[in-house]
């Protein structure tokens, strides 16, 4: 994998699922349209079985279990020590516009997302799309045009709505579990041993 922007990759070894490595990979730019295509491998979290690596190694784009896509740059990834649930924290888009209005000061919110489990416990939205590059979580809905149906954490469409990309489509993408203030840039997430708290570092606006 080579990209220009968002060059870090997050690795997490599961404590619950034997020899399972999670990898989070972000976008190549602020609005990376390649992330719209699953086979691009951009803006995804995937899990890989380290027991079955072939000689040439896995191809991130083709192999592995998809935990989620449409995740702009989810740098922090954590596994709940009790339930094994997989969580991530998301660095969302800069300079957002909506229907001609510059809404970037207080939107979109950063996100904490949930991706199910690695032990085979079924979770419907595992591997689902979390919105990027078109849908983002509202932080201050009042700053967004056409906000009657939006609350904090609602997925809304960036730019101008059309017949395919609109708030209805965005409402069908997986919404965050928690929404944080815009541009806080969460970069890591750790649980305490009992799993009663999650700790998150926030870089703050770049």
């Amino acid at each position: 994998m080579n990209t220009e922007d968002h060059t870090t990759r997050t690795l997490l070894l599961s404590q619950k699922a034997n020899a399972t490595l999670l990898i989070s990979r972000g976008s190549t730019s602020n609005v990376d349209l390649a992330a719209e295509t699953l086979s691009s491998g951009h803006s995804q979290i995937k899990a890989f079985d380290l027991n079955n690596i072939t000689q040439s190694g896995y191809d991130f784009n083709k192999d592995g279990l998809l935990m989620g896509w449409g995740l702009r740059n989810s740098v922090g990834v954590a596994e709940h020590p009790v339930t094994g649930g997989i969580y991530s924290v998301e660095n969302s888009v800069d300079q957002i516009m909506r229907q001609g209005k510059d809404a970037h000061q207080n939107n979109p919110g950063e996100e904490m997302n949930f991706h199910g489990y690695l032990n085979g416990t079924a979770y419907g939205p595992q591997g689902s799309n979390y919105g990027y590059p078109y849908c983002f979580a509202a932080w201050v809905p009042a700053d967004l045009p056409d906000n009657a149906n939006l609350t904090v954490g609602s997925n809304f469409a960036m730019g101008d709505q059309n017949s395919t990309i609109n708030d209805t489509y965005c409402a069908e993408q997986t919404a965050p579990r928690l929404t944080f203030q815009a541009h806080m840039a969460p970069l890591d997430m750790k649980f305490n041993n009992s799993g009663t708290e999650a700790w998150v570092t926030f870089h703050g606006s770049w």
């Binding site: 070894l13 404590q15 020899a19 890591d188 750790k190 305490n192 708290e197 700790w199 870089h203």
Partner: protein
Amino acid sequence: MALVATGLTKPRSLQFDSAGNLLVVQAGSGIVNLALQDNGGTCLSVKSRKNVVQNGGVSIPILRILPWPS
């Protein structure tokens, strides 16, 4: 959600050490060790702070070796 520590510069990775102190990587400046004060409930504050590694211009990741297979 509770705010525990402020005044960090470009914080990235975080990890707890075996004594319960919070280690935080500050990109470009190194690793800081935050000793925490439990004020009851979910109220935590930083009791003291010291530099573990001071390093300008270098981003140092924290690596944790996990027992494997678990």
